[in-house]
C-alpha cells in the first residue's frame, strides 16, 4: 500500500511543479499578483509531497519491503540498519529521488530567505526551479520509478555493492548533490533576470550567497569523495581522473569561475554577460554530471540502448535546458553592456585570468571525459583517455592561477599600482624562494615537483597571510575583516594547504607491494613493518581475513594495523585497508592475496602530508560558507529596487 502512496505523492508533486513553473512566470509577465503569489505555496506543497515520497522509500528500505523492485535489488536481510538509509540513494532511481528532494530543499530555502526581493523576480526564480523539478519528476515517474513492485515479493534482496557499505557513503552523495543542485539557484536567478530583462546586475548580488553555499557543498562533496576513494577503494590514491570524479569536478571548476565573476559583476558591473553565461554553464555541467554518473552512459554509448527511453529523455532534457537557456541568452544578452573601465594591471584583469583558466580547465576535463564516448559513437575504437592526459594539461592550466592568486587581494579595482603591490608581496616571494632552496639543501632527493610544491605552497599561503596582516594593521578595528573577505582568505589559504598536500605527497610518497611471510620485517621510508600473520574474523555480514602489521620507528612501536580482505555474504569481495593517519604522515597497509607458503601479498604506502589535501578542501568549504554569510547580501529591499512587475519584460522584448 505505502509504495503506491509514494508513487501517488510523486505524481502530485509533479502536478504542483507544473503549477509552480507555469503560473508565477505567466503572472510575472502579465503583472498578475495573484498568480505571482502562487509561487511560494506551490513550492511548499511540492516539497511536502517529495519529502513524503522520499520518506516512504526510506521506510521501505528500513522495513525491508522486498516487494519493491528497487529495494530488492539494492539491499538484503543482512544489511545493518544504518546502511539501509544510504542504500536509498545507492542506485539510479533512488539517487534521482534524492536529487529532487534536495532541489526542493533549495527551493524552500530560496522562497523562505528571499522575502525582501522583488516579487516578480522571485516568481520567475521559483518558476525556473519548478521547471527543473518538473523535468526530473517526469524523468523519475516515466523511466526510473523507484516504487515499481515485484510481485510476489522476493524472500531476500541482492546485496548493496560492498564498496558502498561505508559511512562515507552516508554523507558523500547528499553533499555532492547539495552542490550540484545548488547551482540551479544561480541558474534560476540568471534565467529569471534574462526573462525579466532586468540585467543591471542587481540579481547577481542576490544570487551570490546561494552560489557560494552551493560551491561550498560541492567542495565538501568532492573532498569527501576523494577521501572515500583513498580509504575505501584500497588503491591509496586520492584522485583518479575517473569519469565519475570528473563529472563532479567540471561544475566545481566552472562554479569557481562563477563565484569570482559574480564578485566582479556585483561590485563593478563588468563581466555581466559572462556571469550569465557561467551561471548557465555551471548548472548545465551539474546536469550532465548527474546523468553521466547515474545513467550508465559512461560504460558506453550503447548503455542508452539498454533503456532507450532514459537516454532519449536525458538528451531532450539537457537539450531543453542548455539549448533553451542559451537561446534566451542570445536573444537578451546583447542588451547587456556596461561596467566601469579598468586598466591592464587591475583586479578585474586578474579575475579575468582566473575565469579563463578555470573555464579552459573545465573544457579540457570535459573533452577528456567525453572523448571516449565520441570515439565509441563514431566507431573509432575503444579509447581511454587516462590520467596522464589530465595530469599533464591540468597543472599547466592551473600554473597561472597559482602564480596570480596572491596578487588578487592586493591589487585594486580598475587601476592598481604595480610598485605598491610588489612591496607588499615581496616577503612572500623571498620566503617561497628561500624555502625552495632550503628544501633542495635538506632533501637532495626531492623531485622538482616537490620543490615546486614547497615554493607554491609558501607563495600562496604567505601571500594570503600578508594580506590578512595588512588588513589588521590598516583597517579600523571592527571593520578589518568582512565575512566576504574572511571567506576569501580562508578559501585561498585552503588552496595553499591543498597544494602542499598534492605536491609534497605525490613527490615523497613511498609505495611498495611486498610478499610477506609471518614475522618477516620489511622496510619502507625508514620504518620497519613486521607482519605477524593472518586470522579469520567475522563481521555483521561478512567473513574476513585479517592481517596484523606492526610498524616500528627504530624500536618504538608506532602502530599496529589490521588490514582486512572481506568476503561478503552476497559473495562479493572487498579489501579494507588499515590506515594510521597523522598530520604529517599517513601509514597505509592493504592486504592482497595469499601467495602460498604462508606468504601474503601486502601493499605498504607511506604518504607524507596527504591529509593536507582534504584539510585544504575543508578550508575552502568554510571559506564559501563564511563569504555567503556577509550581511551585504541580505540588504533589505530598497524601494527603488522594486520595479513594477509587468512592464519591464514587455519593454525588454520590444
Amino acid at each position: 500500500m505505502l509504495p503506491e502512496l509514494g508513487q501517488f505523492a510523486l505524481i502530485l508533486a509533479l502536478l504542483l511543479s507544473i503549477v509552480q513553473c507555469a503560473l508565477p512566470i505567466w503572472g510575472a509577465w502579465r503583472g498578475n499578483t495573484t498568480l505571482i503569489g502562487i509561487a511560494r505555496p506551490a513550492v511548499a506543497g511540492q516539497a511536502v509531497f517529495v519529502a513524503m515520497a522520499f520518506a516512504i522509500l526510506t521506510y521501505a528500505f528500513v522495513t525491508q519491503d522486498f516487494s519493491v523492485t528497487y529495494v530488492a535489488s539494492n539491499s538484503n536481510l543482512a544489511l545493518p540498519w544504518y546502511y539501509r538509509f544510504p542504500a536509498v540513494w545507492g542506485a539510479h532511481e533512488g539517487s534521482l529521488l534524492l536529487w529532487i528532494l534536495i532541489l526542493n530543499v533549495w527551493s524552500v530555502a530560496v522562497a523562505a530567505f528571499s522575502r525582501h526581493l522583488p516579487d516578480a523576480l522571485m516568481a520567475r526564480v521559483l518558476g525556473v526551479l519548478g521547471f527543473i523539478s518538473c523535468g526530473f519528476l517526469l524523468f523519475t515517474i516515466l523511466t526510473s520509478n523507484p516504487f515499481l513492485r515485484h510481485l510476489p515479493a522476493l524472500p531476500n534482496g541482492s546485496d548493496l555493492n560492498p564498496i558502498l557499505q561505508d559511512p562515507g557513503l552516508i554523507v558523500h552523495p547528499p553533499m555532492l548533490y547539495m552542490g550540484y543542485v545548488g547551482f540551479s539557484v544561480a541558474f534560476a536567478f540568471a534565467i529569471a533576470a534574462l526573462l525579466g530583462g532586468e540585467l543591471d546586475g542587481a540579481w547577481v548580488r542576490w544570487a551570490r550567497p546561494w552560489t557560494n553555499v552551493a560551491w561550498a557543498f560541492l567542495t565538501l562533496g568532492i573532498t569527501l569523495g576523494s577521501w572515500w576513494a583513498y580509504y575505501v577503494l584500497g588503491w591509496g590514491g586520492w584522485w583518479f581522473w575517473d569519469p565519475v570524479e570528473n563529472a563532479s569536478f567540471m561544475p566545481w571548476l566552472v562554479g569557481t569561475a562563477l563565484i569570482h565573476s559574480q564578485a566582479v559583476t556585483e561590485k563593478r558591473g563588468s563581466f555581466r554577460a559572462w556571469t550569465l553565461l557561467l551561471s548557465i554553464f555551471a548548472f548545465s555541467l551539474s546536469l550532465l554530471g548527474t546523468f553521466l554518473v547515474r545513467s550508465g552512459v559512461l560504460t558506453s554509448v550503447h548503455a542508452f540502448a539498454s533503456d532507450p527511453r532514459r537516454g532519449i529523455f536525458i538528451l531532450v532534457l539537457l537539450g531543453v535546458v542548455v539549448g533553451g537557456s542559451l537561446l534566451l541568452y542570445a536573444l537578451r544578452a546583447p542588451k547587456v553592456a556596461g561596467g566601469k573601465p579598468f586598466r591592464l594591471f587591475s583586479r578585474e584583469t586578474l579575475l579575468l585570468v582566473n575565469n579563463l583558466m578555470f573555464v579552459c580547465a573545465a573544457a579540457m576535463v570535459l573533452l577528456g571525459t567525453l572523448y571516449p564516448l565520441v570515439g565509441d559513437a563514431l566507431g573509432i575504437g575503444r579509447i581511454s583517455v587516462g590520467p596522464p592526459y589530465f595530469g599533464f594539461v591540468f597543472p599547466l592550466l592551473m600554473l597561472p592561477v597559482v602564480l596570480a592568486i596572491p596578487f588578487g587581494p592586493f591589487v585594486h579595482w580598475a587601476a592598481a599600482d604595480w610598485r605598491a603591490t610588489w612591496r607588499s608581496l615581496r616577503p612572500a616571494v623571498i620566503l617561497a624562494i628561500a624555502a625552495a632552496l632550503v628544501a633542495v639543501l635538506l632533501f637532495p632527493h626531492l623531485s622538482t615537483r616537490g620543490i615546486l610544491g614547497v615554493a607554491a605552497t609558501l607563495w600562496v599561503g604567505a601571500g594570503i597571510v600578508l594580506y590578512a596582516l595588512k588588513r589588521w594593521r590598516e583597517a579600523p578595528a571592527g571593520r578589518r575583516y568582512t565575512p566576504e573577505m574572511l571567506g576569501m582568505i580562508l578559501a585561498h589559504f585552503g588552496l595553499a594547504l591543498f597544494l602542499a598536500g598534492v605536491l609534497v605527497s605525490e613527490s615523497t610518497s613511498v609505495e611498495r607491494d611486498v610478499s610477506f611471510t609471518p614475522n618477516q620485517v620489511q622496510q619502507a621510508a625508514g620504518l620497519d613493518f613486521r607482519f605477524t600473520g593472518v586470522t579469520r574474523v567475522r563481521g555483521p555480514n561478512y567473513l574476513a581475513d585479517q592481517g596484523t602489521v606492526e610498524v616500528r620507528d627504530g624500536t618504538r612501536l608506532i602502530a599496529t594495523m589490521h588490514p582486512q580482505k572481506r568476503q561478503y555474504d552476497g559473495q562479493q569481495m572487498q579489501s579494507v585497508a588499515a590506515i594510521k593517519g597523522g598530520v604529517f604522515r599517513d601509514l597505509y597497509v592493504a592486504l592482497g592475496d595469499p601467495l602460498g607458503n604462508d606468504a601474503w601479498a601486502v601493499r605498504i604506502y607511506v604518504k607524507p602530508f596527504v591529509r593536507w589535501i582534504w584539510f585544504g578542501g575543508l578550508f575552502m568549504l568554510f571559506g564559501g560558507l563564511t563569504a555567503a554569510a556577509d550581511k551585504r547580501f541580505r540588504a533589505h529591499r530598497v524601494e527603488a529596487d522594486a520595479p513594477a512587475p509587468a512592464i519591464a519584460p514587455a519593454q525588454a522584448v520590444a
Binding site: T299, C360, R382, S384, D513, D593, L595
Partner: protein, 152 residues
C-alpha cells in the same frame, strides 16, 4: 583608443591566446595519452602498437593462474574465447580478480607475452565488462566471418 575599446582588445587577445595555448596543449596531450583497448585476437593480428602501451581486455582463462610460491609475480592467460595471450604482472591484484572474470590490463608487449603495469577487474557492476564483452563479440564475429568465407 578609448578605454572601452582598449579593455575589449585586452580581453579578446587574452581569450585568443588562452584558447590557442589550451587547444595546442590539449591536442598534444590527447594524442600522446590515448590508449586503445584490444582483444587478444586483435593483438595477434598485429593491430596493437609495438612496444608502446595499450590496454588488453578479455577473460582470465580458467586454470591459467600460476605463481611461484611466495612471489608477487603472477602469470595468467587472457582470452577472448578465440585466441589467448599470456600476461605477466607483479604486484597486488584487485579484489575481484579471479578465473573466468573479465579484466582490463594496461601494459605493453614484451616478446610473446603481455607485461601488465596495472590490472583492473570489474570496477563496478557494468563499467568494465561491457568493453570486454564488445571486444569478445568482435573477435567472435571476425572468426565467424573467416569461417564463413571459404564456403562461398
Amino acid at each position: 583608443m578609448t578605454p572601452t575599446r582598449k579593455r575589449r582588445l585586452i580581453a579578446v587577445s587574452l581569450i585568443l591566446i588562452a584558447i590557442g595555448i589550451a587547444a595546442a596543449l590539449t591536442v598534444l596531450a590527447l594524442s600522446r595519452n590515448m590508449s586503445y583497448l584490444f582483444s587478444p585476437s586483435e593483438v595477434l593480428a598485429g593491430k596493437a602498437p609495438d612496444g608502446s602501451s595499450f590496454r588488453l581486455g578479455g577473460v582470465v582463462l580458467e586454470h591459467s593462474i600460476r605463481r611461484a610460491p611466495g612471489s608477487l609475480t603472477v602469470d595468467f592467460v587472457v582470452t577472448d574465447r578465440i585466441h589467448e595471450m599470456p600476461v605477466q604482472y607483479t604486484g597486488v591484484l584487485p579484489d575481484l580478480f579471479r578465473e573466468g572474470q573479465s579484466i582490463i590490463a594496461t601494459g605493453s608487449m614484451q616478446g610473446n607475452h603481455f607485461t601488465a603495469r596495472e590490472v583492473l577487474a570489474k570496477h563496478d557492476e557494468t563499467y568494465m565488462p561491457k568493453e570486454v564483452a564488445d571486444a569478445i563479440a568482435k573477435a567472435k564475429a571476425v572468426e565467424a566471418a573467416k569461417h564463413a568465407q571459404p564456403l562461398h
